[in-house]
């Protein structure tokens, strides 16, 4: 099967997955005891105002009809209006998602590089001080929840040694003086594209602690996976063959065995991506980082179901796409893998 057919089939599958998620979230949102109409009009509303809102939101229709309308709206790009912000959910997501995306991407890049290098060092120098240190760091990263790490980082680097800002995504003065023109919505990328270096530096500076907090867990998992696969690889027959041919241990690790170990590591990167995304939601709250996490959490607090459903759909779609990318990467790395 050619790669394009494979990708087309996987994308088709993506729509089935999204339909399933849309169905589940819709019915769950209807079952939970809350009154969307009351949320919509606010706490001090009169009975007749709530009634009008209920009519307006289509909540008086039978459930299957509501579901039909909801699916039709989803497909036509009308993802409903946030009960709290009163703005279209899709617009809100388009505004908040790139911020989180940037955070998670940076975190995953840091985690992949750091995790892989630490894991490779650990495996190559098994039993050494480097190995023990790297494993200890990995255990800390894996076992502490992201928001705890976020709080610890705040205490350490904003209070004890005030190196980094405690909250926000850019220095207000910089944002005023050098406003970032929105192209992709990802501030760093936009600043880069418009050669807005002051803003770029400020955004990067503000992102350091949140990125570290999000990266800790995936870095730990990636370190452990790299160490385990590389250790296993180094015991294999073909590594003994490389050695019998006079290649040194370091060149075997760096030129051959690392690529052998990369497959499982990439799979791990894919699966921890989801964890990083969820971790980012809470880290955003801790650092008042205005991303989709803050948006979703405030939506959940307010029982703002269009927000919950919309965000869930988008996050699921991202997850499915990342998995597809992982599978393509692995097929590209190892020619024995057949896509089907």
């Amino acid at each position: 099967m050619s790669v394009s057919t494979y990708v087309a089939r996987r994308l088709l599958l993506l729509f089935l997955v999204l339909f399933g998620i849309a169905t589940i979230t819709f019915f769950v949102a209807r079952v939970i005891p809350s009154d969307p109409a009351a949320t919509y009009v606010g706490g001090l509303a009169r009975k007749d105002q709530i009634e009008t809102a209920r009519e307006k939101l289509g909540l008086n229709e039978p459930l299957p009809v509501q579901f039909g309308i909801y699916l039709r709206d989803l497909l036509t790009g009308d993802w409903g209006t946030s009960l709290v912000s009163k703005r279209p959910v899709l617009e809100d997501i388009a505004h908040f998602l790139p911020v989180s995306f940037q955070l998670v991407f940076l975190a995953m890049a840091v985690a992949s590089v750091v995790g892989f290098i630490l894991g490779a060092l650990s495996a190559a120098k098994k039993g050494s001080v480097i190995d023990h240190g790297s494993r200890l760091a990995a255990v800390v990263g894996v076992s502490l929840p992201a928001f705890v790490i976020a709080l610890l980082l705040q205490v350490l680097f904003c209070h004890v040694v005030p190196l980094f800002p405690i909250a926000g995504k850019i220095q207000v003065a910089v944002a005023d003086q050098y406003p970032i023109r929105t192209i992709t919505g990802m501030d760093l990328l936009d600043a880069l594209l418009t050669a807005n270096w002051s803003a770029f530096a400020s955004v990067l500076y503000y992102a350091v602690l949140p990125v570290l907090a999000v990266a800790a867990y995936p870095a730990g998992v990636i370190q452990r996976m790299t160490r385990a696969t590389l250790t296993e690889t180094l015991e294999l027959e073909y590594v003994r063959m490389h050695r019998a041919m006079g290649l040194s241990r370091s060149s075997i690790v760096s030129r051959f065995a690392m690529k052998n170990a990369l497959g499982p590591v990439i799979t791990t990167i894919g699966t921890t991506f989801a964890a990083a995304l969820v971790g980012a939601f809470l880290v955003e709250i801790v650092f008042s980082y205005p991303g989709i996490g803050s948006y979703l959490v405030s939506g959940i607090m307010a029982m703002d179901y269009p927000v919950i459903v919309g965000t869930t759909l988008v996050v699921s779609a991202i997850y499915v796409c990342v998995n597809l990318l992982v599978d393509l990467c692995i097929a590209w790395l190892d020619h024995r893998v057949i896509l089907q």
């Binding site: 073909y238 063959m241 490389h242 019998a244 041919m245 006079g246 290649l247 040194s248 060149s251 190892d334």
Partner: protein
């Protein structure tokens, strides 16, 4: 020549093949093992794996190391290559002289330079010996460039040449192939080509034909012989198959439980063997007649955690004398190029067996 080694007795092999040039013991000694002792520390205790192994391999000679599984053949090979490392490996003594220098005294760095350049090795299973995610070219060029100062292009040419030496003529398409795209025989040829790419004078082949089917085995043995005759590659051939040993080697060393028990010209050892273990092994060869039961040597391979004292074969030996249980028999010269380590032979207690 195309039938499997197993089904044919060594005597018929000799008639069919012969061993080439006779007077090999006048040549210089390329590799000499002298009283090599090696243990493994395991959780259950010390495994006495090599109990004073001595033999020598001359230039342009093929020496087969034969014996049952677990007798220490592969451990001997890996020790020569310096590939046995780790906290559990204890080399307790002896020397391995290669071109006059003791390999056991070399540092890992020195061994890295020797391996692939002067000492080459191929393994039993060509399926798992090649790295699955790199092309043949990438793997072989890395070897050539590790030992020479050749440019990438020149190294590629060297690789192509050595592939054609091992009988892979359309080497361009093979170089860009991944190991899984080749057949088992082709993969083993690639391994040999890789081992010989830098013109190593010594090739250690650990059961090179065992994982291959019978027709490919015969081809591979012809290739080994051609490498000896044309490229003057000395070979240490490790096999449990007496037929392969008879077909491929000039000399044979028989190993039992970490000891060399008999060594000499192939015909002397395989046809006129003196050691009771050699003869018992030969008696176990299938004769080809239909209903005959396969013979076995009574008893089992000894536990190397607690090996028998004296001659390690004595508990299974029908000729055992009292002293066999107490002292290790020394190597006794019984012919021009034929030595046996056996008290019974020394005492003249055993008639020379004829086929």
């Amino acid at each position: 020549m195309k039938s499997g080694g197993d089904a044919v007795s060594p005597s018929r092999r000799i008639g069919a093949g012969g061993w080439g040039s006779g007077n090999s013991h006048d040549r210089e000694e390329l590799l000499v093992l002298h009283d090599v002792r090696l243990d493994f520390e395991s959780l259950r205790g010390t495994v006495y794996a090599l109990n004073g192994v001595s033999f020598s391999l001359r230039a342009r000679e093929v020496l087969s190391l034969v014996g049952e599984s677990g007798c220490g053949k592969s451990v001997t090979a890996l020790t020569i290559m310096g590939l046995l490392q780790g906290p559990q490996v204890r080399i307790r003594g002896g020397e391995i002289l290669f071109q006059g220098e003791d390999l056991l005294k070399k540092t890992e760095h020195e061994m890295v330079q020797l391996r692939g350049k002067s000492l080459a090795m191929v393994f039993q299973d060509p399926q798992s010996s090649l790295n699955p995610v790199f092309t043949i070219e990438k793997q072989m060029v890395a070897v050539v460039r590790a030992h020479t100062s050749l440019s990438k292009a020149a190294a590629r040419e060297t690789v192509e040449e050595s592939l054609s030496v091992v009988g892979l003529p359309a080497s361009r398409s093979i170089m860009t192939a991944y190991p899984h795209e080749l057949s088992g025989g082709m993969r083993q040829r690639v391994c040999m080509g890789m081992a010989l790419a830098c013109d190593a004078p010594l090739l250690i082949a650990d059961e090179p034909t065992t994982a291959l089917d019978v027709t490919i085995q015969a081809q591979m043995l012809r290739l080994l012989r051609r490498l000896r005759d044309e490229k003057r590659v000395s070979q240490l051939l490790i096999t449990h198959n007496m037929g392969v040993a008879a077909q491929a080697s000039d000399r044979v060393a028989v190993m039992y439980a970490g000891d060399i028990v008999e060594v000499g010209a192939a015909e002397d050892v395989l046809v006129r063997g003196r050691h009771p273990y050699t003869n018992a092994l030969r008696a176990c060869l299938p004769t080809g007649s239909t209903a005959a039961h396969l013979k076995t040597i009574p008893g089992g391979v000894p536990d190397l955690l607690a090996p028998p004292t004296g001659c390690r074969f004595h508990p299974r030996c029908h000729l055992a004398l009292d002293e066999c249980a107490t002292s290790k028999p020394p190597m006794l010269r019984v012919g021009n190029d034929h030595s046996v380590a056996c008290h019974a032979v020394a005492a003249g207690g055993q008639e020379m067996r004829r086929v």
